[in-house]
Amino acid sequence: MLDRFLVEFKPWTCDFELVHKDWLFGLMHFKSQSKYKIPLLISYAYINRPYIMDLYEELSVVKRLIDAGIDVWMIDWGYPKRSDKFFNISDYIEYIDFCVDLIKKQKGVSKVTLHGYCLGATLAVIYAALSPEPIKNLVLQAPPINFHTNNTISLWAMHIDPVKISRAMGNMPGELLNIAFLLVEPVKLALKYLNVMDNLENKRLVKNFFHMDHWIFDSPAVPGYVYEEQIGRWYHKNEIIRGEYDVNGKKVDLTNITMPVLAIVAEKDNLTPPETTIPFLNMIPSKDKKMLIGHKGHVGLTVSMTSHKKIWPEAVKWIAERSK
């Protein structure tokens, strides 16, 4: 029977409390005994679910941070419905601002560490450039900031009309995004399950494999207007790196990023390769900036054994040293 292969799917391993819920967005606070003064707020990519950061106990970035004594908070960008089509990027930035304020008040601190992952890192960079005062450290994991790169997904994004998609579909459906991500390597996908089928005796491998699949196919839609901005202004016009992007008329000036910056990138990342980050790191005036390069892909950076042996101990150390 089925239980020979699978156990019930549970997305999180660490305990948390949902401290705020606002229509679509939510703020989570992980239970911990923090040793460091500065809390850390994670802004995950709105095109996937954030529990990838805590999917497996042994490969959980959240647990690693908590175990190091860091107070971890995380934004949940939710599952947008048709009624959320009119959310735009400024709503996301305002919610980061709201969360930073709430954490500051609750913890009695004046600054937080902002940790962005993928498109959540793009939001983190925008926020840090607009409001640098409350950001003690900026941690960017696989961040797309320079969108004019030569990887397949970027080339595709540059050749589609997002307005036509949002006009027809309301939002960009998660299922459609998934098909696009999978079509990047179609033949690889056709044989993806062979390894797991050949190792059905290895319960842990099977469980981890299918839990990952749950995450992969649990993709929220992107609100129509957000998608228009993301593709139109970020991918087509590359406005952020060019210093042309604004939020409600306020220019996103990357020269405001003077706080310590840690960028964690993956060499084999076919969605946000290192070239999406390097020009950004070169142009910001921060005196304390570092780049860690993993040898895995976009997701492997978070959930691979190699990353947890080589990248995360160093990343957590960097954060801890600057969280006193």
């Binding site: 029977m1 089925l2 020979r4 292969f5 699978l6 799917f9 229509w23 048709r82 009624s83 959320d84 089509k85 009119f86 959310f87 709503d91 305002e94 030569n150 397949t152 080339l155 595709w156 540059m158 050749h159 589609i160 009309d161 036509k164 998609i165 006009r167 027809a168 579909m169 309301g170 299922e175 459609l176 998934n178 098909i179 999978l182 079509l183 990047v184 390597e185 179609p186 033949v187 690889k188 996908l189 056709a190 044989l191 993806k192 399950y193 062979l194 089928m197 050949d198 059905l200 005796e201 299918f210 699949d213 749950h214 992969i216 196919f217 649990d218």
Partner: protein, 324 residues
């Protein structure tokens, strides 16, 4: 070695994301086909491009083609709304069927009247019995009157369909015709997209066959991995090629235009029908947009009040300090 058995499939279907389930099944078939090819090759026969490689193509790419083909087939729904000759013929045939049905319904009603009278004679008090009979007769008489009246009006059923272009508003017809044009464009680009994918696959397979037939592959793993590597290389260059980007971009654009215009055609029909009791998606979208705008205004006001209160507090503190 454990294997997934037939009785596991229902359990797997319930437990896994549907995409994982489909890909898992396809991967099983792909493996079987590849193993068959290997056995044939290992027995000393040369490989050739034939049914087996064609079947492999279907297994690998069905996952990507299906959503597009469903949309292509969706055109039938639109076609059903149009007064094509076969539709008119089918309506004529339906009228014969409806008349036969009416005869059947009349006889069924007589049958039930008889049954009811029998049971009422035994269990129902006389007052109740006359009430039910009165209601039934009154209802029957009224329906017959409506029917007579309807036929006296000489409403020609088929005329509705032949008058179709004159019934629809100008805007509605324009959306309809435009949707049909978009569908035609979309289907053209889809054919080109599918051909490009098929040609690339065929090129990869011809390279694979040439290499294999030189007897360079020593075992199944090498055989399988060479198939994957060669295919991946071919697809990587296709998916980033200028023509592919144009075709994919145009295909998506025309697909989205087709969906949007079809929806607008249906919305226009409903919105122009005074007895339609439903709000259209367009109406609901507009309401959501207004709610979102109001929400932003409210947030702006809250921020303004917050700033004013802080300023007021600051002034009070200053005044107190001055008095001291």
């Amino acid at each position: 070695m454990e294997e997934i058995k037939r009785e596991d499939l229902i359990g797997l279907f319930k437990a896994l994301p549907k995409e994982s389930f489909e890909l898992l099944l396809r991967n099983v078939t792909i493996r079987e086909r590849l193993e068959d090819l290997w056995k044939e090759y290992a027995s000393g026969k040369d490989l050739g491009y034939g049914e087996r490689f064609e079947a492999l193509f279907e297994e690998v790419f069905r996952f990507f083609f299906r959503p597009l083909e469903i949309t292509l087939r969706g055109f039938r729904q639109l076609r059903f709304l149009l007064p094509f000759p076969e539709l008119l013929e089918s309506i004529e045939r339906q009228w014969d069927l409806i008349r036969a049905w009416q005869d059947f319904a009349d006889s069924l009603m007589s049958h039930f009247s008889l049954i009811t009278e029998l049971s009422m004679g035994i269990t129902t008090p006389p007052v109740m019995k006359s009430m039910i009979e009165g209601f039934r007769e009154g209802w029957k008489e009224r329906l017959e009157r409506y029917y007579r009246h309807y036929y006296l009006l000489d409403v020609e059923e088929l005329r509705l369909y032949t008058d179709y272009p004159l019934i629809l508003t100008k805007k509605t017809s324009q959306y309809l015709l435009s949707a049909l044009d978009e569908w035609e464009e979309f289907s053209g680009y889809y054919m080109e997209f599918k051909d490009m994918v098929r040609d690339t696959y065929k090129t990869a397979i011809m390279q694979f066959i040439e290499l294999a037939n030189n007897r360079k592959l020593k075992n199944y793993v090498e055989f399988r991995d060479t198939f994957i590597d060669l295919s991946n290389r071919q697809f990587d260059s296709l998916l980033r090629s200028k023509r592919y980007l144009e075709v994919q971009g145009n295909m998506v654009t025309h697909l989205m235009n087709y969906l949007y215009k079809t929806r607008r055609f249906l919305e226009e029909m409903f919105e122009n029908n005074p007895i339609n009791p439903f709000a259209t998606v367009g109406h609901v979208d507009e309401a959501h947009k207004r709610i979102m705008d109001l929400r932003r205004k409210l947030r702006g006001l809250e921020r303004r009040i917050d700033t004013l209160e802080k300023e007021k507090e600051g002034k009070k503190v200053k005044q107190k300090g001055g008095k001291k």
